[in-house]
């Protein structure tokens, strides 16, 4: 039954076990007449540890015994195995975002007027969290509603240099519909780009943008 190097058997045991194994647990798998002594076993374990040098795993002694574990340096790739699928945004969120992009600055009321339904707070929250929109000010009407504009992160995500690169409205949808075919009003856009740039500089100080790019469109 033997003929296998002790080191090889130990490696197999540790890789099959899915938990740390103590010296005694390892010894218990051997038939009595071939059971290695504890010192012999420790020696073989040391040898196995050395063999691991260039490999993806390392031998580690923990409280309950020995185990082979994936090197920490490889966590970057390994964790990707369990990366979750990106969630999908709802149709309502995309419509809200699109309306803000084309009609900015826009209040919730402006969006509701087009969509015919209330804009949920969750949608606005998500868009703010994603840093695709921000509050640029308040409209001077009763209730002083918040005015939303899109951000540079929004442009980056959609690979746009500026809002002027958004396709004109009349090219959207099969029904070249009655609404004025317009790009977002350029003057307003510029106005807001200016204040946006300022605001974003502030934001950057607080929240490091994920890719760290700080260039302006």
């Amino acid at each position: 039954m033997s003929g296998q190097p002790l080191k090889t058997i130990i490696e197999a045991l540790l890789l099959a076990a899915d938990r740390a194994l103590s010296l005694d647990e390892i010894r218990a798998v051997f038939d009595e007449e071939e059971r290695p002594g504890r010192d012999e076993l420790r020696e073989a374990l040391a040898g196995l540890g050395e063999d691991c040098g260039q490999r993806g795993v390392e031998l580690k002694q923990v409280a309950s015994g020995y185990r082979l574990q994936v090197r920490r340096e490889l966590a970057h790739w390994v964790n990707r195995l369990w990366e979750e699928k990106p969630p999908r945004y709802t149709r309502a969120l995309l419509e809200t975002l699109a309306l803000i992009a084309y009609r900015q600055p826009a209040t919730r009321g402006d969006i509701e007027e087009v969509r015919g339904v209330a804009v949920s707070t969750a949608i606005i929250r998500t868009l703010l969290d994603r840093e695709w929109i921000r509050v640029a000010g308040h409209r001077d009407t009763p209730g002083r509603p918040e005015l939303f504009v899109t951000t540079r992160q929004f442009l980056d995500h959609f690979n746009l240099k500026s809002l002027a690169e958004l396709p004109p409205l009349d090219e959207i949808g099969e029904s070249g519909n009655g609404l004025a075919a317009d790009r977002p009003d350029e003057t307003i856009v510029e106005l807001f780009a200016a204040t946006a740039a300022e605001a974003e500089k502030e934001t950057e100080a607080e929240v490091e943008s994920p890719d760290g790019r700080a260039n302006d469109a």
Partner: protein, 286 residues
């Protein structure tokens, strides 16, 4: 009989050597001097024994093998007799189990009878050897019996093989942000605008719509149809004020527990129906 001209197989190893009795039977030309001892099973052990077989073909295969004769040379008469002895014993015990065995016994008996009947020479060529079909089935069964054994012999996960695994590094949950294409955004906008347009185009001045009237209307419709999609409640000709009024009416009816709102799945259509036991509240009667 066809097939009898093949070479005689070796004598059964089960036969005790040295004992020479007058032959009690000839199997494929070889003298059988003693009944194979392994054929007798005490009746009370039979049930257990038969469960060791995977069916009538398996038993038949066993009997054929026990006789140590070539499967292509089955002596149907002999085998049938042995087979019937098993069935006889079994009948006492488990009839349900016996059914498939009985069918096989009937097949054997039929073959036997056809062999016994003299046949005109001419018919010999046309008619298939009555044993041929049985032999084919036995051979076919034997093939898959071996295939099953081979399958069982393959190294298998958690038997001879174990998935190798090591403790993964500390896990950090990564949830990527949704990716949105510009086209998704434009499609959404187109949709929103198209729907908005539907409202705008019918900007006809109408009588102010009263949610109270709407409630009565809704109840009447629901009373007639029991179950309606929410979308069917809206009348686009009434424009936004109408939709708002309808919506308010639905909310009011729900609040008063006169109407139930159901949605079977997320984003699925919303349906309305009359509440199971409408409370007698004023103004709600259709």
């Amino acid at each position: 009989m066809p097939g009898t001209d093949s070479p005689a197989p070796a004598a059964s190893p089960d036969m005790p050597p040295g004992q020479r009795h007058p032959a009690i039977a000839y199997v494929a030309g070889a003298a059988v001097e003693e009944l194979p001892t392994d054929l007798y099973i005490p009746p009370n052990a039979l049930e257990v024994y038969l469960e060791a077989f995977e069916g009538p073909l398996d038993l038949l295969l066993y009997l054929v093998k026990r006789q140590n004769i070539d499967i292509l040379e089955i002596n149907v008469a002999e085998i049938t007799a042995q087979y019937m002895a098993y069935i006889e014993l079994m009948r006492a015990g488990q009839f349900e189990l016996a059914a498939e065995y009985l069918v096989m016994a009937a097949v054997l008996a039929e073959i036997k009878s056809r062999i016994l009947l003299p046949r005109p020479e001419a018919a010999e060529d046309e008619e298939e050897d009555p044993r041929a079909q049985l032999i084919r089935r036995l051979l076919e069964y034997e093939r898959y019996k071996h295939a099953a054994e081979n399958l069982d012999g393959l190294p298998r996960l958690n038997r001879e093989l174990r998935q190798a695994r090591a403790e993964p590094p500390e896990f950090q949950r990564i949830v990527p942000q949704p990716v949105v294409e510009l086209s998704d955004l434009l499609a959404a906008l187109a949709r929103a605008l198209r729907e908005a347009e539907l409202f705008e185009h019918h900007h006809v001045q109408t009588e102010p719509i009263n949610p109270r009237d709407k409630m009565t209307l809704l109840l009447r419709r629901l009373d007639r149809q029991r179950f309606l999609p929410l979308s069917a409640m809206f009348d686009p000709r009434e424009g936004r004020p109408g939709i708002v009024a309808t919506f308010l009416a639905v909310m009011e009816l729900t609040r008063n527990a006169l109407v139930e709102i159901t949605q079977s799945e997320v984003f699925g259509p919303i349906h309305l129906r009359l509440a199971e036991a409408p409370l007698a509240q004023g103004g709600a009667a259709p």
